[in-house]
């Protein structure tokens, strides 16, 4: 992911002993550098979506014209659709 990036910004931060232990443990587990994990965490937490993109998404939702279902029925739709997908999977597997 970072193969073609130039890292020019240096940032010095203080961590707790526990945070450092966790970070180094994860780096060892993945055979990765601590720095690459910090960069990954920054991208995951403060991802690349801008406020403009988020607001455009809200505008898109505001233009939609769905049909109202009460909360318990919405729950049921989600559950039934998942159950139907599972049934289909089992039917396909049985063939």
């Amino acid at each position: 992911m970072y193969a073609h990036c130039m890292f020019k910004e240096r940032l010095q931060i203080l961590l707790s002993t526990e945070q450092r232990r966790r970070l180094e443990g994860e780096a060892r587990r993945r055979d990765a550098s601590v720095a690459s994990l910090v960069r990954e965490a920054i991208d995951a937490r403060f991802g690349g979506v801008t406020a403009d993109e988020r607001l455009r998404a809200v505008t898109g939702i505001a233009l939609m014209t769905g049909r109202f279902l009460p909360p318990d029925e919405l729950d049921r739709v989600g559950e039934e659709e998942r159950a139907n997908a599972l049934d289909q999977l089992l039917r396909d597997a049985a063939r």
Binding site: A57, I61, R67, F68, P71, V77
Partner: protein, 143 residues
């Protein structure tokens, strides 16, 4: 920080009394003025509802919601364990997972039109149509 339930996202896309308050919530989050988060489990539920067609034409809703809420809260081992141990007969498995996710991430408020969350240990529900509670919530800044 507060947790945004599935119905808030769906009702923002549906002509109903919840629509304007739900859009207000999504807008505040999109602008970065409110610390609302949601999870992978919520967006999966939104996606199933969208694909079912049973709540009308909601094509693209899950993708737009993802844009608003990314990065999503993960459903972790700890969240699932909490969901399993929750004494909440009014909630189905998925809503329990949402409560577990709140617990894991230190979130105490769930914004939802679903009264099933009322009285559940560890979370307080804010109804999107409760103007006073909603405005108080939207005054909260992202951490």
């Amino acid at each position: 920080m507060f947790f945004v339930d599935t119905n808030v996202i769906v009702y923002a896309a549906v002509p109903c009394s919840y629509r304007d308050p739900c859009l207000e919530i999504l807008e505040a989050i999109g602008r970065g003025d409110a610390a609302g988060r949601t999870s992978t489990a919520v967006l999966e539920e939104v996606w199933w509802i969208e694909l079912s067609g049973r709540a009308g034409d909601l094509g693209g809703l899950a993708e737009r919601a993802y844009t608003i809420f990314s990065p999503l809260l993960p459903v972790t081992d700890d969240a699932f364990r909490h969901a399993l141990s929750l004494p909440a007969p009014s909630l189905g498995p998925l809503d329990r997972v949402h409560v577990g996710t709140c617990h894991t991430h230190g979130i105490e408020v769930v914004v939802s039109a679903d009264a099933g969350f009322d009285g559940v240990r560890g979370v307080r529900r804010v109804d999107p149509n409760d103007d006073r509670a909603r405005r108080r919530l939207l005054g909260s800044r992202p951490e």
